[in-house]
């Protein structure tokens, strides 16, 4: 097959983003890697070109058909540049031809921003790891082998663009889960750009602390977050449930090599006013919810629920612009069911040889309200909050609670307050 005929349908999760993203909810997420030395632009460009040979599907652009958007290879050539836009700013414009990712640098940091229709966290993390390895192997040829990058991605190009939602779709009767009603929503003064606040924490300490509560890292941090939200709740709203949406990497449950989207959202909630409401109780409640939600059967039901919409013939034949309108409404109504999104990327798994050159890695995602992204590199745990509000009370509470437990953070922020 020649290059021009290898077009791709959007995967299930990717279909929602072009319809709903806008200047304020950009559908873009950023993975960045801070090195211990300044980044050299020309070397980064060389490394980027080398990386794109391995990840050709990042060169796809989004085009519209009559019924759906689709991805098509483009001849556009990306150039890396000094960071000159806000974090997670818009990458997809309906009336323009534009690559769906962007590589930039700022002093020691390499940023990779990607539009969510193209790939999810797992795919982008592989891309960034390959890029960083290639970069370091050019700058430090003595200590970093040139073929180190190739060991990261054993994935073949064909399976990397597979639509795994389709592969694991089977019809499952929809179980009506109880959805919490009257969910608590965060409010605040909206800003032009996302405010990001990132806290770097010693991972081993946080893990030890989580273990002392018999909790996993995600559960522990979610519980601390719920406490910090609670501190800002008005008394008469206190009884409203706090709902956390957690994107789950479905590759952990269903074998897949795809670099495109393959994640599902689960929701866990906590309602104050039933018992002591301390950290211990919140953790116990969250642990139960997580183990209930994170079963293969339940996740399979989630995939089936997503796919049922896409496969509905009535939905299929609606023209794209009308479909966009309805998808926007659906997205908005789904957003009203959540308070905050917490996404744990997990361990970055950088090769040992390059760890001495890497300070830390961080993740941020676009959001309508507040989102926390967690990722671990070496012994540095990064908790990155991106927010569309000026207020930073919840972030402050979060890091203060951790500091009171003896884990003092190092804060990085783009806050424009000064």
């Amino acid at each position: 097959m020649n290059q021009s005929s290898r077009w791709l349908k959007l995967d299930n999760a990717g279909k929602i983003f072009p319809a709903t993203s806008s200047k304020h909810e950009t559908g873009v997420f950023r993975f960045s890697c801070e090195l211990n030395e300044p980044v050299q632009e020309s070397v980064l460009q060389t490394a980027l070109e080398k990386t794109l040979v391995k990840f050709p599907h990042f060169l796809y652009i989004l085009r519209n058909g009559l019924f759906w958007y689709y991805l098509e290879p483009s001849e556009l050539k990306p150039t890396c540049h000094e960071e000159n836009t806000g974090v997670c700013s818009q990458l997809f414009y309906r009336n323009q031809r534009h690559l769906l990712f962007d590589v930039s640098y700022y002093h020691n940091r390499i940023n990779l921003e990607t539009y969510h229709a193209l790939a999810d966290g797992t795919g982008v993390m592989l891309f960034l790891k390959y890029l960083v390895c290639s970069y370091l192997s050019i700058v430090h040829p003595d200590t970093v082998r040139a073929d180190l990058a190739d060991e990261i991605t054993p994935v073949s190009i064909s399976s990397s663009t597979e639509d795994s939602f389709k592969k694991y779709y089977k019809k499952v009767a929809k179980k009506k889960g109880k959805k919490p009603r009257g969910v608590y929503h965060l409010t605040g003064t909206r800003t032009e750009r996302y405010t990001v606040i990132e806290g770097l924490l010693p991972c081993s300490k946080v893990l030890a602390l989580a273990k002392s509560y018999h909790a996993t890292l995600t559960v522990f941090l979610c519980a601390v977050l719920i406490l910090s939200i609670h501190q800002e709740m008005l008394l008469y709203k206190e009884k409203k449930p706090i709902v956390i949406t957690v994107p789950v990497n479905l590759r952990q449950y269903f074998t897949s090599d795809t670099l495109r989207n393959f994640f599902g959202n689960i929701r866990v909630s906590y309602q104050f006013g039933h018992g002591p409401d301390d950290l211990q109780q919140i953790i116990r409640s969250l642990s139960e919810s997580f183990s209930r939600e994170l079963t293969e059967e339940h996740l399979s039901g989630i995939i089936s629920g997503y796919m049922a919409v896409e496969r509905n013939p009535a939905v299929k034949v609606i023209p794209l612009s009308v479909k966009n309108f309805f998808l926007k409404i659906a997205r908005r109504s789904s957003d009203t069911g959540e308070t905050i999104v917490v996404s744990n990327i997990g361990k970055t798994g950088l090769p040992q040889q390059i760890l001495p050159y890497v300070h830390h890695m961080s993740v941020f995602a676009s959001t309508t309200k507040l989102q926390a992204c967690i990722c671990t590199c070496g012994d540095t745990l990064s908790v990155g909050f991106s927010s569309s509000f000026e207020e930073t009370d919840i972030q402050r509470n979060f890091f203060r609670i951790l500091a009171d437990m003896g884990i003092e953070p190092v804060i990085q922020s783009n806050s424009a307050a000064d």
């Binding site: 058909g65 930073t392 804060i411 307050a417 000064d418």
Partner: protein
């Protein structure tokens, strides 16, 4: 590194106040900021559309006002208002679609034809829109797409589907020819002939690419 005592947090980069609590910081700031200062980015397109809109609205109001003040016996200002509205719509579509040249041509082709039919209908049907404007605009659009695609050496995925859309629209005058509402038939005959030739050429020489493009655009 800076330090915020109440938050018990070290603050990297250059800050005057704590990004968490807004309080005062102790210690020395680092040499470099953590994030660049982003200058506000004025949205040029939005500004141009705003200026166009206010010009159109102000122009319309002034026309009506003059019409009221200087009685002329007819409401000529209504035509001026309609004209301004058409011009505004035409310009805004053109600006919004400016990055995609060929797309823009097809849009303009449809829009200009529709506005011409509207004017013809409003001013008591004389048939000029169907006789001249519609076939000429369609023929022009087809030729423009072909010329631009050749000059810029576009791959067929960039222009093929748009050319076919123009050609299919270009067959519509055939209906007018058969219903016999036209008195001047030359432009319509040329337009239909060009459309049919273009479709035949693509079907004979390029049907694989054509099939691929159509299945791409119409996939369910």
């Amino acid at each position: 590194m800076l330090y915020c005592k109440p938050c018990k947090a070290k603050i990297a980069g250059v800050h005057e106040h704590c990004p968490l609590c807004g309080g005062n910081l102790s210690g020395e700031p680092e040499k470099e900021r953590s994030y660049p200062i982003i200058a506000p980015n004025p949205n040029r397109i939005k500004r141009i559309i705003q200026i166009l809109s206010i010009s159109a609205i102000a122009g319309a109001i002034i026309c009506v006002a003059i019409n009221v003040l200087v009685p002329a016996g007819i409401w000529w200002s209504l035509f001026a208002v309609l004209g301004l509205a058409c011009g505004w719509l035409w310009a805004v579509v053109g600006i919004l679609k400016k990055a995609k040249l060929l797309n823009n041509i097809v849009w303009q082709c449809v829009l200009i034809s529709a506005l011409a039919f509207l004017w013809d209908a409003v001013t008591g049907w004389h048939g000029w829109s169907a006789e001249f404007v519609f076939p000429c605009v369609c023929t022009g659009a087809m030729l423009a797409v072909i010329i631009l695609a050749t000059v810029f050496r576009m791959p067929d995925k960039e222009y093929l589907i748009l050319l076919i859309v123009c050609a299919v629209i270009g067959i519509i005058p055939l209906i007018f020819l058969f219903t016999g509402i036209l008195t001047v038939i030359l432009p319509s005959v040329i337009c239909v002939a060009v459309s049919l030739i273009i479709i035949s050429i693509q079907l004979i020489f390029n049907w694989k690419a054509l099939y691929r493009e159509v299945s791409k655009k119409l996939h369910l």
